[in-house]
């Protein structure tokens, strides 16, 4: 590393710091952390940087927001609210929006940053999922990331409810209903949360504490842990020549990625400021102060909660049953508690399920190409499809008015699609992934089609294929073959039933589900055989190739 002109000037104070903290060792190690160059590794940064912007703008908002349900009468610049009775929380939101300089801009940047924060978390999570970056040793970090997503939901929801407008109040009322649908403890829990009957006067100050202290504190702590583990495990990287499980190819933090990251932070701040300055978000002055009686049409939560709204809208009301005088609101319990419960549990535990099913206990630092893990990719797409159907179902009234359709027909369509579409997308995605793997095989064995037809003197025509270069071939052949775990016999040689057979049988079944349909990666022997026969020849299926190659070393017709 070259020294620049300013280094001597800085040396003295840095030395003072280093002698007292030993920080140089840490910085030296950290500055050499290597970032692989790929845009998809920057998705987590969008979440991190928008979180920093959330903290900055949020701090500004706390200077003016008053978390209180006390009733006041509004007098201010907003004519449509003049003389209207409202909570101090709502009045202070109007005050900071219309009277504090830059207040509305800060509020809008804060809200846009919240939406982008959650969108970036989900996108980052998709990247990690589809490239298998959750595999050992990163399972714990996946769970931490998952927890961060849940905390993001909590932060978003608690913040959304703070201004005490009609829309967020409707959201709280739904939450109250969901809590009350929990059997036996529901009503007690609701009274506990709201400090009495809904809405009461406690919920706004309580949500404020949750939103500005509890949740951001937890997020900060877990972000620290998340990043510490990223540094400890080092980055994953996409496969390619020279990239192995034991190295990371890329550029160091200092100076390359420090500059890139700082620049990216400024871009993110710029985009969020632009959105905050030009696009209205959560116009609470449209919704008015909360009052439990009115519910306006088109009442929806922010996008990350929309799938719950969709689940509620899809569930038919007849599921509510009365047993011995007690009401069991399955019509609320299933969509609002059971559905997200299943979705979130699956997400959190997926790395463990996959490693159990595959018996793969090795460390992985090379990212999978999604096509090379067809069932995982298909599972991800299928879950996203269900999520998307629920989001659309949560917007069914807008679809009805904007496309002039019957809301009843839309709701029924989504009820059916919720069950059918994930299965269809699973099968289609799996087939596409397998097809892409076959295409890779073809390409490796036969090379690129050149479009050149050559005629020999004998009259024979062949198409000349252009062989792949080293890098192209490496990307397509580097992955390990994955096969189902074979099931050992139920009885041992003495005819005694083996312990743990039933568990093994289940595991084999799950493993078959993952890997029964597969395309084997091309082996070096197959490449050699393909080239020995000329690039235009077809090759037999994977299993035979090696046997035939050993049988006919002279390279005479194997295919």
């Amino acid at each position: 590393m070259s020294t620049n002109a300013s280094a001597p000037k800085l040396a003295a104070p840095v030395d003072i710091l280093d002698q007292r903290t030993g920080v140089a060792t840490f910085i030296k190690a950290f500055a050499r952390k290597v970032f692989p160059d790929h845009w998809s590794f920057l998705l987590g940064e969008i979440a991190l940087f928008s979180f920093i912007i959330l903290l900055l703008t949020g701090t500004f908002l706390t200077l003016f927001f008053v978390p209180s349900s006390d009733l006041v009468t509004y007098t201010g610049p907003l004519a449509a609210m003049n003389g209207v009775e409202m909570s101090r929380a709502f009045a202070s939101t109007l005050h900071l929006s219309f009277e504090v300089t830059g207040g509305l801009l800060m509020r809008q940047i804060h809200h846009w940053a919240a939406l982008i924060f959650m969108a970036a978390i989900v996108t980052h999570m998709m990247r990690v999922f589809f490239t298998g970056a959750f595999r050992k040793p990163r399972e714990i970090n996946w769970v931490i990331g998952f927890t961060l997503m849940i905390l993001g939901l909590a932060a978003g929801f608690s913040g959304y409810s703070l201004p005490d407008d009609v829309l967020s109040g409707n959201g709280l009322r739904i939450t109250d209903g969901v809590v009350k649908s929990i059997p036996i403890i529901g009503s007690y829990l609701s009274y506990f949360i709201f400090g009495g009957e809904f809405p009461g006067t406690h919920i706004i100050p309580r949500l404020f504490t949750v939103h500005i202290l509890l949740v951001p504190g937890l997020i900060l702590a877990l972000v620290g842990l998340h990043l510490f583990l990223v540094v400890l495990h080092k980055h994953t990287q996409y496969p390619g020549g020279g990239r192995t499980e034991r190295n990371v190819v890329g550029y160091p933090i200092f100076p390359v990625y420090m500059a890139k990251q700082a620049g990216y932070f400024l871009i993110i701040f710029g985009v969020l400021a632009l959105m905050g300055a030009t696009l209205t978000i959560n116009p609470v002055w449209n919704y008015g102060p909360y009052d439990p009686s009115p519910v306006s049409a088109g009442a929806q939560p922010d996008w990350y909660m929309l799938f719950l709204e969709g689940a509620l809208r899809l569930t038919p009301g007849f599921l509510e049953v009365v047993i011995g005088g007690f009401t069991l609101s399955l019509n609320v319990l299933i969509p609002a508690v059971v559905v997200p419960g299943i979705l979130f549990t699956t997400l959190a535990l997926y790395p463990f399920v996959e490693s159990w099913a595959t018996g793969d206990k090795r460390e992985h630092h090379l990212a999978d190409r999604p096509r090379n893990a067809p069932v995982r990719t298909a599972t991800g797409v299928s879950v996203l499809t269900a999520f998307m159907v629920l989001i659309l179902a949560g917007s069914n009234d807008l679809i009805a008015t904007h496309f002039h359709m019957s809301i009843n027909a839309i709701t029924w369509t989504f009820r059916i699609l919720l069950f059918v579409l994930p299965v269809v997308t699973f099968m289609v995605t799996k087939r596409i992934a397998l097809g892409l793997q076959r295409k890779d095989r073809e390409l490796v064995l036969h090379g690129h089609e050149s479009g050149k037809i050559v005629r020999f003197d004998t009259g024979e025509y062949i198409e000349v294929h252009q062989p792949l270069d080293e890098q192209e071939r490496w990307i397509r052949v580097q992955h390990d073959p994955r096969r189902p775990i074979p099931l050992l016999p139920e009885h041992n040689e003495r005819g005694v039933r083996r312990r743990g057979y039933r568990r093994d049988a289940l595991r084999t079944r799950v493993s078959e589900f993952f890997y029964a349909d597969r395309v084997e990666p091309v082996t070096p022997a197959e490449v050699a055989a393909a080239q020995a026969h000329g690039e235009h020849d077809a090759l037999p299926a994977a299993g035979h190739a090696m046997a035939e190659l050993t049988a006919s070393k002279d390279g005479s017709s194997a295919g």
Partner: protein, 261 residues
Amino acid sequence: MKAIAARRHHKLAPVVLLALALLVTGVLYAAFTPSTAQAASAPTENDLTAGSNLFRANCSTCHGVNAEGRAGAGPSLIGVGAAAVDFQVSTGRMPLMNQGAQAPAKPPIFTEEQIRQMAAWVASLGPGPAIPAPEAVDPSKGDAASGMELFRTNCAMCHGAVGQGGALTEGKFAPNLSTASPTTIYEAMVTGPQSMPVFNDGTVTPQEKRDIIAYLDAQKQGSPGGATLGSIGPVAEGMWAWIAGLGLLIGAAVWIGAKSS
């Protein structure tokens, strides 16, 4: 002509042709569309006759020759008043183009004069709400804050928080009020067209109706926060966050990730 012929295979030629075709169509349409006549005065005997004739020619197929209604086709219009006729015909909802969940608003096919004549004739059949006087619908005489509270309690559950419209059952809908004129809004309240209930002067007083009109009129000033995104709430915001926001940021990430290698 030779210069044009030489360029007719230019890649922009279809675009230019399309633009020209649209321009010609637009100009012709504007030239042939009848302009609306201005007239307003108390109905005369001639007006009633003209209104009756217009009604028989255009409305009687469904509503009956004497506006008594026809089973399965259209309701009786005796006693609906001039306001109902003015609302339905001036917004183009009537005459109905085809049977559907709900009559949609479309460009009116009658002139103001003709609408006034039909309204006068229908009003002569039985007492009903009249077309409101201009001062009854003057937004500047209403209180927007009171209108906000009234709108939230009485209107927002179907028309949405600021009157951007909303869905009802089986393809019916509460229309967007942003382009509705104050007179139309007033007439809708007193006549209760289609799925809408009647808000007579007992439930919502004339002053309160003016307040509601003032509140809706205030929405036309736009949003202090910037583009309104259709005022349809978090779904539009979510789409903007994903498509514009995250789209731009991922674009920037691709740029940053690609630059050093």
